[in-house]
Subunit: 275 residues, 2 copies
Amino acid sequence: MCQLLGMNCNVPTDIAFSFRGFRQRAGVTDQHSDGFGIGFFEEAGCRLFLDYQAASESPIARIIDHYPIKSINVIAHIRKATQGVVSLANCHPFQREMWGQYWLFAHNGDLKSLPPELGKGHFYQPVGSTDSEQAFCYLLEKLRSKHEKMPSSEVLFAELKEITSTLAEFGVFNFILSNGKFMFAHCSTNLSYIVRKAPFTTAHLLDEDVTFDFSTVTTPTDRVAVIATLPLTDNETWTKFEPDQLIMFIDGEPVLEQNCPHSRPSKATTNTCSS
Amino acid sequence: MCQLLGMNCNVPTDIAFSFRGFRQRAGVTDQHSDGFGIGFFEEAGCRLFLDYQAASESPIARIIDHYPIKSINVIAHIRKATQGVVSLANCHPFQREMWGQYWLFAHNGDLKSLPPELGKGHFYQPVGSTDSEQAFCYLLEKLRSKHEKMPSSEVLFAELKEITSTLAEFGVFNFILSNGKFMFAHCSTNLSYIVRKAPFTTAHLLDEDVTFDFSTVTTPTDRVAVIATLPLTDNETWTKFEPDQLIMFIDGEPVLEQNCPHSRPSKATTNTCSS
Protein backbone atom coordinates (compact mmCIF):
# COMPACT_ATOMS: atom_id res chain seq x y z
CA MET A 1 0.00 0.00 0.00
CA CYS A 2 0.97 3.65 -0.17
CA GLN A 3 0.03 6.95 1.41
CA LEU A 4 -1.61 9.99 -0.14
CA LEU A 5 -1.38 13.71 0.54
CA GLY A 6 -3.42 16.42 -1.16
CA MET A 7 -3.82 20.15 -0.64
CA ASN A 8 -6.52 22.37 -2.13
CA CYS A 9 -6.64 26.09 -1.25
CA ASN A 10 -8.18 29.43 -2.15
CA VAL A 11 -4.77 31.14 -2.24
CA PRO A 12 -1.38 29.78 -3.37
CA THR A 13 0.00 28.01 -0.30
CA ASP A 14 3.29 26.39 0.64
CA ILE A 15 2.87 22.67 1.49
CA ALA A 16 6.30 22.39 3.19
CA PHE A 17 4.93 21.80 6.73
CA SER A 18 2.58 18.96 5.74
CA PHE A 19 5.11 17.42 3.35
CA ARG A 20 7.76 17.48 6.07
CA GLY A 21 5.70 15.20 8.27
CA PHE A 22 4.41 13.12 5.37
CA ARG A 23 7.82 12.24 4.02
CA GLN A 24 8.92 10.87 7.38
CA ARG A 25 6.54 7.99 6.66
CA ALA A 26 8.80 6.96 3.78
CA GLY A 27 11.32 5.08 5.91
CA VAL A 28 11.41 6.83 9.30
CA THR A 29 8.00 6.51 10.97
CA ASP A 30 6.59 4.07 8.39
CA GLN A 31 7.77 1.94 5.48
CA HIS A 32 6.52 3.61 2.30
CA SER A 33 10.03 3.78 0.81
CA ASP A 34 9.60 2.55 -2.79
CA GLY A 35 9.63 5.95 -4.45
CA PHE A 36 7.64 9.13 -4.13
CA GLY A 37 6.22 12.00 -6.11
CA ILE A 38 4.81 15.46 -5.57
CA GLY A 39 3.06 17.56 -8.20
CA PHE A 40 2.27 21.28 -8.00
CA PHE A 41 -0.23 23.11 -10.17
CA GLU A 42 0.70 26.70 -10.90
CA GLU A 43 -2.02 28.34 -12.99
CA ALA A 44 -2.36 26.16 -16.11
CA GLY A 45 1.13 24.71 -15.59
CA CYS A 46 2.10 21.73 -13.54
CA ARG A 47 5.41 20.52 -12.23
CA LEU A 48 5.94 17.05 -10.98
CA PHE A 49 8.92 15.83 -8.96
CA LEU A 50 9.42 12.07 -8.97
CA ASP A 51 12.08 9.80 -7.49
CA TYR A 52 12.38 6.06 -7.02
CA GLN A 53 14.29 6.77 -3.78
CA ALA A 54 12.48 7.12 -0.45
CA ALA A 55 11.01 10.58 0.16
CA SER A 56 12.72 10.68 3.57
CA GLU A 57 16.16 10.57 1.89
CA SER A 58 15.73 11.77 -1.70
CA PRO A 59 17.56 14.97 -2.72
CA ILE A 60 14.53 15.69 -4.91
CA ALA A 61 12.30 15.70 -1.81
CA ARG A 62 14.75 17.91 0.09
CA ILE A 63 14.47 20.60 -2.58
CA ILE A 64 10.84 21.11 -1.54
CA ASP A 65 12.18 22.30 1.84
CA HIS A 66 14.62 24.75 0.23
CA TYR A 67 12.40 26.01 -2.60
CA PRO A 68 8.89 26.39 -1.19
CA ILE A 69 6.53 26.35 -4.16
CA LYS A 70 3.17 28.03 -3.56
CA SER A 71 0.26 26.31 -5.22
CA ILE A 72 -3.54 26.05 -5.12
CA ASN A 73 -3.48 22.29 -5.69
CA VAL A 74 -0.79 19.79 -4.72
CA ILE A 75 -0.80 15.98 -4.78
CA ALA A 76 1.93 13.88 -3.16
CA HIS A 77 2.42 10.14 -2.81
CA ILE A 78 4.83 7.81 -1.02
CA ARG A 79 4.92 4.30 -2.40
CA LYS A 80 5.07 0.86 -0.90
CA ALA A 81 5.05 -1.35 -3.98
CA THR A 82 2.27 -3.94 -4.26
CA GLN A 83 1.99 -4.22 -8.06
CA GLY A 84 4.82 -3.10 -10.37
CA VAL A 85 8.57 -2.93 -9.68
CA VAL A 86 10.32 -0.03 -7.96
CA SER A 87 11.02 2.33 -10.86
CA LEU A 88 10.43 5.89 -11.96
CA ALA A 89 7.66 4.81 -14.35
CA ASN A 90 5.70 3.42 -11.40
CA CYS A 91 5.96 6.50 -9.15
CA HIS A 92 2.78 8.44 -8.50
CA PRO A 93 1.33 10.98 -9.14
CA PHE A 94 0.77 10.14 -12.79
CA GLN A 95 0.21 13.00 -15.21
CA ARG A 96 -1.79 13.25 -18.42
CA GLU A 97 -3.37 16.01 -20.49
CA MET A 98 -7.13 16.00 -21.05
CA TRP A 99 -9.25 18.78 -22.57
CA GLY A 100 -6.18 21.04 -22.73
CA GLN A 101 -5.56 20.69 -18.98
CA TYR A 102 -3.03 18.69 -17.01
CA TRP A 103 -4.42 16.06 -14.63
CA LEU A 104 -2.58 14.45 -11.72
CA PHE A 105 -3.64 11.22 -10.03
CA ALA A 106 -2.28 9.28 -7.05
CA HIS A 107 -3.68 6.04 -5.66
CA ASN A 108 -3.48 4.06 -2.45
CA GLY A 109 -4.83 0.55 -2.65
CA ASP A 110 -4.69 -2.58 -4.71
CA LEU A 111 -6.88 -3.33 -7.73
CA LYS A 112 -6.97 -6.87 -9.08
CA SER A 113 -7.92 -7.99 -12.60
CA LEU A 114 -8.88 -4.63 -14.06
CA PRO A 115 -11.02 -4.72 -17.24
CA PRO A 116 -9.15 -5.88 -20.36
CA GLU A 117 -10.47 -2.91 -22.33
CA LEU A 118 -7.62 -0.81 -20.87
CA GLY A 119 -5.25 -1.49 -23.74
CA LYS A 120 -3.96 -0.46 -27.13
CA GLY A 121 -6.08 1.68 -29.38
CA HIS A 122 -7.37 3.94 -26.64
CA PHE A 123 -6.49 7.56 -25.96
CA TYR A 124 -4.72 6.85 -22.70
CA GLN A 125 -2.34 3.97 -22.15
CA PRO A 126 -0.25 3.18 -19.09
CA VAL A 127 3.54 3.52 -19.35
CA GLY A 128 4.46 1.66 -16.17
CA SER A 129 3.13 -1.57 -14.71
CA THR A 130 0.93 -0.46 -11.81
CA ASP A 131 -2.77 -1.10 -11.34
CA SER A 132 -2.92 2.58 -10.31
CA GLU A 133 -1.82 4.04 -13.64
CA GLN A 134 -4.08 1.58 -15.42
CA ALA A 135 -7.03 2.81 -13.34
CA PHE A 136 -6.11 6.44 -14.04
CA CYS A 137 -6.00 5.78 -17.79
CA TYR A 138 -9.34 3.97 -17.62
CA LEU A 139 -10.87 6.88 -15.74
CA LEU A 140 -9.59 9.47 -18.25
CA GLU A 141 -10.56 7.28 -21.19
CA LYS A 142 -14.14 7.08 -19.96
CA LEU A 143 -14.40 10.83 -19.40
CA ARG A 144 -12.60 11.81 -22.62
CA SER A 145 -14.59 9.50 -24.86
CA LYS A 146 -17.83 10.97 -23.49
CA HIS A 147 -16.87 14.65 -23.60
CA GLU A 148 -14.84 16.48 -26.21
CA LYS A 149 -14.43 19.40 -23.83
CA MET A 150 -14.53 19.90 -20.08
CA PRO A 151 -18.09 19.48 -18.70
CA SER A 152 -19.39 21.35 -15.65
CA SER A 153 -17.96 20.35 -12.28
CA GLU A 154 -21.32 18.84 -11.30
CA VAL A 155 -21.43 16.63 -14.39
CA LEU A 156 -17.78 15.71 -13.92
CA PHE A 157 -18.43 14.78 -10.30
CA ALA A 158 -21.42 12.60 -11.16
CA GLU A 159 -19.52 10.74 -13.89
CA LEU A 160 -16.42 10.35 -11.78
CA LYS A 161 -18.57 8.82 -9.07
CA GLU A 162 -19.91 6.29 -11.55
CA ILE A 163 -16.46 5.36 -12.90
CA THR A 164 -15.03 5.23 -9.38
CA SER A 165 -17.76 2.88 -8.33
CA THR A 166 -16.92 0.55 -11.24
CA LEU A 167 -13.20 0.56 -10.43
CA ALA A 168 -13.76 0.12 -6.68
CA GLU A 169 -15.30 -3.26 -7.46
CA PHE A 170 -11.79 -4.47 -8.29
CA GLY A 171 -10.30 -3.68 -4.89
CA VAL A 172 -9.17 -0.87 -2.59
CA PHE A 173 -9.37 2.45 -4.41
CA ASN A 174 -8.37 5.45 -2.32
CA PHE A 175 -7.28 8.22 -4.68
CA ILE A 176 -6.72 11.94 -5.17
CA LEU A 177 -7.22 13.53 -8.60
CA SER A 178 -6.87 17.15 -9.68
CA ASN A 179 -6.85 19.34 -12.78
CA GLY A 180 -5.39 22.31 -10.89
CA LYS A 181 -8.78 23.79 -10.08
CA PHE A 182 -10.80 20.98 -8.52
CA MET A 183 -9.53 18.23 -6.27
CA PHE A 184 -11.42 14.95 -6.10
CA ALA A 185 -10.69 12.54 -3.28
CA HIS A 186 -12.17 9.06 -2.94
CA CYS A 187 -11.97 6.79 0.06
CA SER A 188 -12.32 3.02 0.10
CA THR A 189 -10.60 2.46 3.43
CA ASN A 190 -8.46 5.33 4.78
CA LEU A 191 -8.60 9.03 4.00
CA SER A 192 -9.02 12.05 6.27
CA TYR A 193 -9.13 15.80 5.76
CA ILE A 194 -8.94 19.04 7.62
CA VAL A 195 -9.93 22.57 6.56
CA ARG A 196 -7.75 25.26 8.07
CA LYS A 197 -9.24 28.75 8.11
CA ALA A 198 -9.39 31.81 10.41
CA PRO A 199 -8.83 31.92 13.28
CA PHE A 200 -5.58 30.12 12.41
CA THR A 201 -3.69 28.46 15.25
CA THR A 202 -0.63 26.25 15.68
CA ALA A 203 -0.33 22.68 14.44
CA HIS A 204 2.01 19.96 15.69
CA LEU A 205 3.18 17.16 13.40
CA LEU A 206 2.57 13.54 14.36
CA ASP A 207 5.70 12.21 12.62
CA GLU A 208 8.26 14.79 13.79
CA ASP A 209 8.37 17.13 16.78
CA VAL A 210 7.63 20.25 14.76
CA THR A 211 5.06 22.95 15.52
CA PHE A 212 3.98 25.67 13.12
CA ASP A 213 1.87 28.76 13.78
CA PHE A 214 -0.27 29.29 10.67
CA SER A 215 -1.47 32.69 11.95
CA THR A 216 1.97 34.10 11.10
CA VAL A 217 1.65 33.39 7.36
CA THR A 218 -2.07 33.74 6.60
CA THR A 219 -4.76 36.35 6.07
CA PRO A 220 -8.30 36.09 7.51
CA THR A 221 -9.79 34.96 4.17
CA ASP A 222 -7.31 32.11 3.50
CA ARG A 223 -8.70 28.59 3.45
CA VAL A 224 -6.69 25.41 3.00
CA ALA A 225 -7.95 21.82 2.84
CA VAL A 226 -5.37 19.11 3.52
CA ILE A 227 -6.24 15.51 2.70
CA ALA A 228 -4.13 12.57 3.87
CA THR A 229 -4.31 8.80 4.22
CA LEU A 230 -3.80 9.29 7.98
CA PRO A 231 -3.91 12.60 9.89
CA LEU A 232 -0.61 14.51 9.88
CA THR A 233 -1.06 16.47 13.11
CA ASP A 234 -1.95 15.45 16.67
CA ASN A 235 -3.56 18.64 18.00
CA GLU A 236 -6.21 19.24 15.33
CA THR A 237 -9.50 17.53 14.51
CA TRP A 238 -9.39 15.68 11.19
CA THR A 239 -12.55 14.41 9.49
CA LYS A 240 -12.37 10.79 8.38
CA PHE A 241 -13.97 10.02 5.02
CA GLU A 242 -16.69 7.42 5.07
CA PRO A 243 -16.08 4.24 3.07
CA ASP A 244 -16.96 4.75 -0.63
CA GLN A 245 -17.15 8.50 -0.18
CA LEU A 246 -16.12 10.82 -3.02
CA ILE A 247 -15.57 14.50 -2.20
CA MET A 248 -14.81 17.40 -4.53
CA PHE A 249 -12.81 20.26 -3.02
CA ILE A 250 -12.72 23.75 -4.49
CA ASP A 251 -11.05 26.81 -2.97
CA GLY A 252 -10.09 24.94 0.17
CA GLU A 253 -13.41 23.38 1.11
CA PRO A 254 -15.54 20.33 0.29
CA VAL A 255 -18.34 21.38 -2.07
CA LEU A 256 -19.78 18.11 -3.35
CA GLU A 257 -19.93 14.88 -1.40
CA GLN A 258 -21.21 11.51 -2.39
CA ASN A 259 -21.33 8.06 -0.92
CA CYS A 260 -21.56 5.49 -3.60
CA PRO A 261 -21.52 1.99 -2.08
CA HIS A 262 -22.01 -0.74 -4.67
CA SER A 263 -23.10 -3.50 -2.35
CA ARG A 264 -25.39 -1.73 0.09
CA PRO A 265 -28.19 0.87 0.00
CA SER A 266 -27.22 4.29 -1.31
CA LYS A 267 -26.36 6.94 1.29
CA ALA A 268 -26.15 9.69 -1.31
CA THR A 269 -26.04 13.18 0.12
CA THR A 270 -26.18 15.25 -3.06
CA ASN A 271 -27.00 12.84 -5.83
CA THR A 272 -28.11 9.29 -6.44
CA CYS A 273 -25.66 6.49 -6.96
CA SER A 274 -26.09 5.02 -10.39
CA SER A 275 -24.07 1.86 -9.91
CA MET B 1 14.03 32.51 -29.63
CA CYS B 2 15.36 29.83 -27.33
CA GLN B 3 18.17 27.32 -27.15
CA LEU B 4 18.05 23.53 -27.24
CA LEU B 5 20.20 20.83 -25.70
CA GLY B 6 19.84 17.09 -26.27
CA MET B 7 21.84 14.05 -25.26
CA ASN B 8 21.48 10.52 -26.65
CA CYS B 9 23.81 7.74 -25.45
CA ASN B 10 24.40 4.01 -25.46
CA VAL B 11 24.94 3.97 -21.66
CA PRO B 12 23.27 6.04 -18.94
CA THR B 13 25.28 9.25 -18.82
CA ASP B 14 25.37 12.31 -16.59
CA ILE B 15 24.64 15.54 -18.51
CA ALA B 16 25.97 17.83 -15.74
CA PHE B 17 28.99 19.12 -17.74
CA SER B 18 26.99 20.11 -20.82
CA PHE B 19 24.10 21.51 -18.77
CA ARG B 20 26.54 23.59 -16.71
CA GLY B 21 27.67 25.45 -19.82
CA PHE B 22 24.20 25.53 -21.36
CA ARG B 23 22.51 27.15 -18.38
CA GLN B 24 24.98 30.05 -18.40
CA ARG B 25 23.21 31.17 -21.56
CA ALA B 26 20.10 31.83 -19.49
CA GLY B 27 21.20 35.24 -18.25
CA VAL B 28 25.00 35.15 -17.96
CA THR B 29 26.48 34.64 -21.45
CA ASP B 30 23.17 35.09 -23.30
CA GLN B 31 19.61 36.22 -22.61
CA HIS B 32 17.43 33.10 -22.63
CA SER B 33 16.04 33.83 -19.16
CA ASP B 34 12.28 33.27 -19.51
CA GLY B 35 12.16 29.83 -17.93
CA PHE B 36 13.81 26.50 -18.57
CA GLY B 37 13.23 22.79 -18.45
CA ILE B 38 15.19 19.57 -18.48
CA GLY B 39 13.71 16.10 -18.90
CA PHE B 40 15.42 12.77 -18.21
CA PHE B 41 14.27 9.40 -19.47
CA GLU B 42 15.05 6.53 -17.12
CA GLU B 43 13.91 3.25 -18.68
CA ALA B 44 10.18 3.71 -19.36
CA GLY B 45 9.97 6.53 -16.82
CA CYS B 46 10.57 10.20 -17.38
CA ARG B 47 11.18 13.08 -15.02
CA LEU B 48 10.86 16.63 -16.05
CA PHE B 49 12.12 19.64 -14.11
CA LEU B 50 10.56 22.96 -15.09
CA ASP B 51 10.91 26.48 -13.78
CA TYR B 52 9.79 29.88 -15.00
CA GLN B 53 12.96 31.33 -13.47
CA ALA B 54 16.19 31.58 -15.46
CA ALA B 55 18.22 28.35 -15.56
CA SER B 56 21.31 30.28 -14.46
CA GLU B 57 19.65 31.15 -11.12
CA SER B 58 16.88 28.59 -10.53
CA PRO B 59 17.23 26.32 -7.48
CA ILE B 60 15.61 23.63 -9.64
CA ALA B 61 18.50 23.92 -12.12
CA ARG B 62 21.06 23.81 -9.32
CA ILE B 63 19.74 20.46 -8.15
CA ILE B 64 21.01 18.94 -11.42
CA ASP B 65 24.55 19.81 -10.23
CA HIS B 66 24.02 18.16 -6.84
CA TYR B 67 22.03 15.12 -7.95
CA PRO B 68 23.55 13.91 -11.21
CA ILE B 69 20.89 11.82 -12.94
CA LYS B 70 22.23 9.28 -15.43
CA SER B 71 20.09 8.88 -18.51
CA ILE B 72 20.18 7.56 -22.09
CA ASN B 73 18.10 10.47 -23.40
CA VAL B 74 17.89 14.01 -22.05
CA ILE B 75 16.27 17.13 -23.51
CA ALA B 76 16.80 20.62 -22.07
CA HIS B 77 15.58 24.05 -23.12
CA ILE B 78 16.18 27.64 -22.09
CA ARG B 79 13.49 30.05 -23.15
CA LYS B 80 13.42 33.54 -24.56
CA ALA B 81 9.72 34.17 -24.99
CA THR B 82 8.47 35.08 -28.46
CA GLN B 83 4.89 33.73 -28.27
CA GLY B 84 3.16 33.07 -24.92
CA VAL B 85 3.75 34.72 -21.55
CA VAL B 86 6.47 33.71 -19.08
CA SER B 87 4.78 30.92 -17.12
CA LEU B 88 5.27 27.31 -16.12
CA ALA B 89 2.72 26.16 -18.71
CA ASN B 90 4.89 27.64 -21.46
CA CYS B 91 8.19 26.06 -20.36
CA HIS B 92 9.69 23.38 -22.62
CA PRO B 93 10.18 20.45 -22.86
CA PHE B 94 6.52 19.52 -23.16
CA GLN B 95 5.51 15.99 -22.21
CA ARG B 96 2.74 13.74 -23.47
CA GLU B 97 2.03 10.00 -23.55
CA MET B 98 1.62 8.25 -26.91
CA TRP B 99 1.44 4.48 -27.54
CA GLY B 100 2.13 3.82 -23.84
CA GLN B 101 5.40 5.81 -23.95
CA TYR B 102 6.30 9.27 -22.71
CA TRP B 103 7.43 11.78 -25.34
CA LEU B 104 9.37 14.98 -24.72
CA PHE B 105 9.60 17.87 -27.16
CA ALA B 106 11.48 21.19 -27.11
CA HIS B 107 11.46 23.83 -29.85
CA ASN B 108 13.58 26.78 -30.89
CA GLY B 109 11.98 29.03 -33.45
CA ASP B 110 8.81 30.89 -34.23
CA LEU B 111 5.81 29.44 -36.07
CA LYS B 112 3.14 31.82 -37.32
CA SER B 113 -0.50 31.00 -38.10
CA LEU B 114 -0.42 27.28 -37.47
CA PRO B 115 -3.30 25.25 -38.98
CA PRO B 116 -6.66 25.77 -37.25
CA GLU B 117 -7.17 22.01 -37.03
CA LEU B 118 -5.05 22.04 -33.86
CA GLY B 119 -7.99 22.46 -31.53
CA LYS B 120 -10.71 20.85 -29.46
CA GLY B 121 -11.85 17.35 -30.22
CA HIS B 122 -8.39 15.98 -30.92
CA PHE B 123 -6.32 13.59 -28.84
CA TYR B 124 -3.69 16.16 -27.98
CA GLN B 125 -4.46 19.72 -27.00
CA PRO B 126 -2.04 22.42 -25.85
CA VAL B 127 -2.25 23.59 -22.23
CA GLY B 128 -0.14 26.75 -22.58
CA SER B 129 -0.11 29.44 -25.25
CA THR B 130 3.06 28.73 -27.24
CA ASP B 131 3.34 27.90 -30.93
CA SER B 132 5.79 25.20 -29.81
CA GLU B 133 3.32 23.17 -27.75
CA GLN B 134 0.75 23.58 -30.51
CA ALA B 135 3.22 22.15 -33.03
CA PHE B 136 4.05 19.27 -30.67
CA CYS B 137 0.35 18.42 -30.29
CA TYR B 138 -0.13 18.59 -34.06
CA LEU B 139 2.81 16.29 -34.60
CA LEU B 140 1.56 13.72 -32.07
CA GLU B 141 -2.00 14.01 -33.37
CA LYS B 142 -0.87 13.15 -36.89
CA LEU B 143 1.19 10.17 -35.75
CA ARG B 144 -1.38 8.87 -33.28
CA SER B 145 -4.31 9.10 -35.66
CA LYS B 146 -2.37 7.08 -38.24
CA HIS B 147 -0.98 4.39 -35.92
CA GLU B 148 -2.67 2.69 -32.99
CA LYS B 149 0.70 1.37 -31.83
CA MET B 150 4.32 2.36 -32.28
CA PRO B 151 5.50 1.76 -35.87
CA SER B 152 9.09 0.86 -36.80
CA SER B 153 11.72 3.56 -36.37
CA GLU B 154 12.08 3.82 -40.17
CA VAL B 155 8.35 4.41 -40.66
CA LEU B 156 8.30 6.84 -37.76
CA PHE B 157 11.25 8.75 -39.25
CA ALA B 158 9.64 9.00 -42.68
CA GLU B 159 6.35 10.25 -41.26
CA LEU B 160 8.03 12.65 -38.89
CA LYS B 161 9.92 14.08 -41.85
CA GLU B 162 6.65 14.68 -43.68
CA ILE B 163 4.94 16.33 -40.69
CA THR B 164 8.05 18.39 -39.94
CA SER B 165 8.13 19.61 -43.49
CA THR B 166 4.50 20.76 -43.20
CA LEU B 167 5.12 22.58 -39.93
CA ALA B 168 8.37 24.17 -41.15
CA GLU B 169 6.33 26.03 -43.75
CA PHE B 170 4.96 28.15 -40.90
CA GLY B 171 8.36 29.41 -39.73
CA VAL B 172 11.57 28.46 -37.95
CA PHE B 173 11.28 24.93 -36.58
CA ASN B 174 14.39 23.66 -34.83
CA PHE B 175 13.35 20.92 -32.41
CA ILE B 176 14.41 17.89 -30.41
CA LEU B 177 11.95 15.05 -29.75
CA SER B 178 12.44 11.79 -27.88
CA ASN B 179 10.53 8.79 -26.56
CA GLY B 180 13.43 7.66 -24.38
CA LYS B 181 14.86 5.35 -27.02
CA PHE B 182 15.19 7.45 -30.16
CA MET B 183 16.09 11.11 -30.39
CA PHE B 184 14.94 13.11 -33.39
CA ALA B 185 16.51 16.50 -34.08
CA HIS B 186 15.42 18.88 -36.81
CA CYS B 187 17.21 22.01 -37.94
CA SER B 188 15.70 24.98 -39.70
CA THR B 189 18.47 27.44 -38.86
CA ASN B 190 20.80 26.47 -35.99
CA LEU B 191 21.62 23.06 -34.57
CA SER B 192 24.94 21.25 -34.13
CA TYR B 193 26.02 17.91 -32.69
CA ILE B 194 29.07 16.04 -31.57
CA VAL B 195 29.58 12.32 -30.96
CA ARG B 196 32.00 11.57 -28.14
CA LYS B 197 33.53 8.07 -28.17
CA ALA B 198 36.86 6.39 -27.48
CA PRO B 199 39.54 7.63 -27.34
CA PHE B 200 37.91 10.11 -24.93
CA THR B 201 39.72 13.37 -24.27
CA THR B 202 39.13 16.61 -22.40
CA ALA B 203 36.53 19.20 -23.33
CA HIS B 204 36.47 22.89 -22.41
CA LEU B 205 33.19 24.80 -22.09
CA LEU B 206 32.60 27.90 -24.17
CA ASP B 207 30.40 29.62 -21.58
CA GLU B 208 32.43 29.00 -18.43
CA ASP B 209 36.12 28.27 -17.86
CA VAL B 210 35.58 24.60 -17.04
CA THR B 211 37.47 21.61 -18.46
CA PHE B 212 36.42 17.98 -18.05
CA ASP B 213 38.35 14.82 -18.89
CA PHE B 214 35.81 12.30 -20.19
CA SER B 215 38.41 9.49 -20.16
CA THR B 216 38.11 9.41 -16.35
CA VAL B 217 34.42 8.45 -16.37
CA THR B 218 33.97 6.32 -19.51
CA THR B 219 34.65 2.84 -20.86
CA PRO B 220 35.95 2.17 -24.42
CA THR B 221 32.50 1.22 -25.71
CA ASP B 222 30.65 4.32 -24.45
CA ARG B 223 29.18 6.64 -27.05
CA VAL B 224 27.41 9.93 -26.38
CA ALA B 225 25.83 12.31 -28.89
CA VAL B 226 25.25 15.87 -27.69
CA ILE B 227 23.05 18.16 -29.75
CA ALA B 228 22.85 21.91 -29.12
CA THR B 229 21.61 25.09 -30.79
CA LEU B 230 25.21 26.35 -30.68
CA PRO B 231 28.34 24.30 -29.78
CA LEU B 232 29.01 24.08 -26.05
CA THR B 233 32.78 23.51 -26.18
CA ASP B 234 35.62 25.38 -27.90
CA ASN B 235 38.20 22.59 -28.33
CA GLU B 236 36.10 19.98 -30.13
CA THR B 237 34.72 19.73 -33.66
CA TRP B 238 30.93 20.03 -33.79
CA THR B 239 28.96 19.11 -36.91
CA LYS B 240 26.46 21.74 -37.97
CA PHE B 241 23.12 20.42 -39.23
CA GLU B 242 22.18 21.49 -42.73
CA PRO B 243 19.03 23.58 -43.09
CA ASP B 244 15.90 21.38 -43.16
CA GLN B 245 17.86 18.36 -41.95
CA LEU B 246 16.19 15.78 -39.72
CA ILE B 247 18.43 13.27 -37.91
CA MET B 248 17.47 10.30 -35.77
CA PHE B 249 19.97 9.35 -33.07
CA ILE B 250 20.07 5.94 -31.42
CA ASP B 251 22.66 4.69 -28.93
CA GLY B 252 24.75 7.84 -29.26
CA GLU B 253 25.04 8.12 -33.02
CA PRO B 254 23.09 9.43 -36.00
CA VAL B 255 21.46 6.51 -37.81
CA LEU B 256 18.99 8.13 -40.20
CA GLU B 257 19.43 11.48 -41.87
CA GLN B 258 17.19 13.35 -44.18
CA ASN B 259 17.12 16.72 -45.82
CA CYS B 260 13.64 17.72 -46.61
CA PRO B 261 13.63 21.19 -48.17
CA HIS B 262 10.22 22.29 -49.34
CA SER B 263 11.32 25.04 -51.66
CA ARG B 264 14.33 23.51 -53.41
CA PRO B 265 15.36 20.18 -54.96
CA SER B 266 15.47 17.23 -52.57
CA LYS B 267 18.89 16.31 -51.18
CA ALA B 268 17.59 13.15 -49.55
CA THR B 269 20.31 10.82 -48.31
CA THR B 270 18.25 7.87 -47.15
CA ASN B 271 14.77 8.48 -48.41
CA THR B 272 12.80 10.72 -50.72
CA CYS B 273 11.12 13.85 -49.49
CA SER B 274 7.40 13.62 -49.93
CA SER B 275 6.51 17.26 -49.35
